[in-house]
Point group: C2
Chain length 276, copies 2
């Protein structure tokens, strides 16, 4: 196989299997090439990902080492995704009253979801999560894509204990936005006790349901290593969770004036160390 | 930019944007190359996808024409995905009683979901769907991935009309497996009346909920061009929908003997024209 074809085949393989660890022997055998030639190929593939702003190749040596494509997103592409989100959200027909916005089309748009998932994958890759966890329903595509990019299993917490989930653990939590007690439920066999979770969700106002997720995971002695949220409302300023990363912030929904104030979370592209 | 790098960059761009139509001018400008050189590059990239069994490049000329990566999956990889599914499903601890199986981990496994989504994308690419539609919850990752691969918006039908969905249309339908009337609800602004839908779901027994989806879409004069289901129960033989494509079939769940009979749907790889 010619070098051109090998480069193409490697990029195809890596992008189809993000964060999967490959033994270099795998590719040497597949292409019938020496390790030195593979190293040159991998160097070039790494350049391609870096030039495209889509990630990089991580090579580690020794036992348990190998080659892995770590997906990412450039600052320019983060800004593009944030701009696209702000433009979409800034549409008065989304205002539903009571501080609610219609956002299903945004959370079900594959390109926007992929961009946001890349932000979370890039940020949390090195945090060592074992699962990506969300609560149904609107955040599932975003959480599923983040999980795929990180090569981690997805866990979906249900609002009601379903028969098809087998034995479950349920909690009640206080939801500020609906001003009432709500329930969530997780299948006992969905998670390994003592493991680590990355929480992903579509929207946060006071943080009640994120805090609910943290609490239900604590029932399994699970630690939360990070929280990624697509859209965060600026009010209330005081959230029930402190460590989260948002893509965009909604400052105000003016129902009478039919106006939505939404802005990019500049921390994502400011180059400063995020306080997470 | 050297040819090697261009090939890598093209594969990365195409796999990140499946089914997106590109003007060839886009790449000529980006790489600073003539149309003839781009044609050679595209030919090579097409070979890469075909050799890897991950799809092909479709080139169309004239007004509205361009270059597009159509994702696919080889028969060998379909068999591999089916085998992996059968092995996973064939685990007696999944038996929940009443003919239910625990399958959340399977439907939330990114690699399995990607493989199944590729089967559906390959099969239904030419059918001209405008949306991929599912009903919450377990089929959402599969439907979302299928939608991404086909570059289509996802629509998620809810079990309950949610306030955050705005005005909704709801129907009641008969679910054979739960032996009762159930409800589903769709946001009015989620779909364009008169458009075409591809339905994707995780599991089907009698087909009651798929028929419910067909009915709720009919309220918007929407046609269903296909139905893709991950796991279909062989019983009852008579389903409430006729045109569907399954990945694997569960023939029997023997609760007492703690045994599950599951097999690949051989039609997917038999090369015969599927009756869809």
């Amino acid at each position: 196989m010619k070098k051109n074809n090998r480069i193409g085949a490697l990029v195809d393989e890596f992008t189809s299997n993000p964060c999967k660890l490959y033994d270099s022997k795998h590719f040497c055998d597949k292409f019938g090439i020496a390790k030195s030639s593979l190293s040159e190929d991998i160097k070039l593939v790494n350049e391609v990902f870096i030039d495209n702003g889509t990630g990089y190749i991580e090579s580690t040596s020794g036992v348990g080492g190998g080659i892995r494509y770590v997906p990412g997103i450039s600052d320019d592409n983060i800004k593009r995704i944030q701009d696209a989100l702000c433009t979409k959200i800034n549409d008065p027909s989304r205002i539903l009253g009571g501080g609610f916005l219609y956002t299903s089309d945004i959370m079900f748009d594959g390109k926007l979801v992929d961009g946001m998932a890349r932000v979370f994958a890039q940020k949390y890759y090195s945090f060592g999560a074992d699962y990506v966890v969300t609560v149904e329903t609107k955040g599932i595509p975003l959480a599923a894509r983040t999980a795929s990019l990180l090569n981690l299993p997805l866990v979906v917490i249900r609002r009601e204990a379903m028969y098809s989930e087998g034995s479950t653990v349920s909690i009640n939590y206080f939801s500020g936005s609906s001003d009432r007690i709500q329930k969530m439920s997780i299948a006992k066999r969905a998670v390994e006790p003592g493991s680590k979770a990355l929480i992903i969700d579509d929207f946060m106002r006071g943080g009640g349901s994120i805090k609910g997720i943290v609490e239900i995971l604590a029932e399994f002695d699970m630690d939360v290593i990070g929280v990624g949220i697509a859209i965060v409302a600026s009010e209330p300023v005081k959230k029930r969770v402190s460590n989260y990363l948002s893509i965009v912030c909604v400052d105000e929904i003016d129902e009478e004036g039919r106006r939505i104030s939404v802005r990019a979370n500049d921390q994502l592209t400011s180059g400063t160390n995020l306080e997470i």
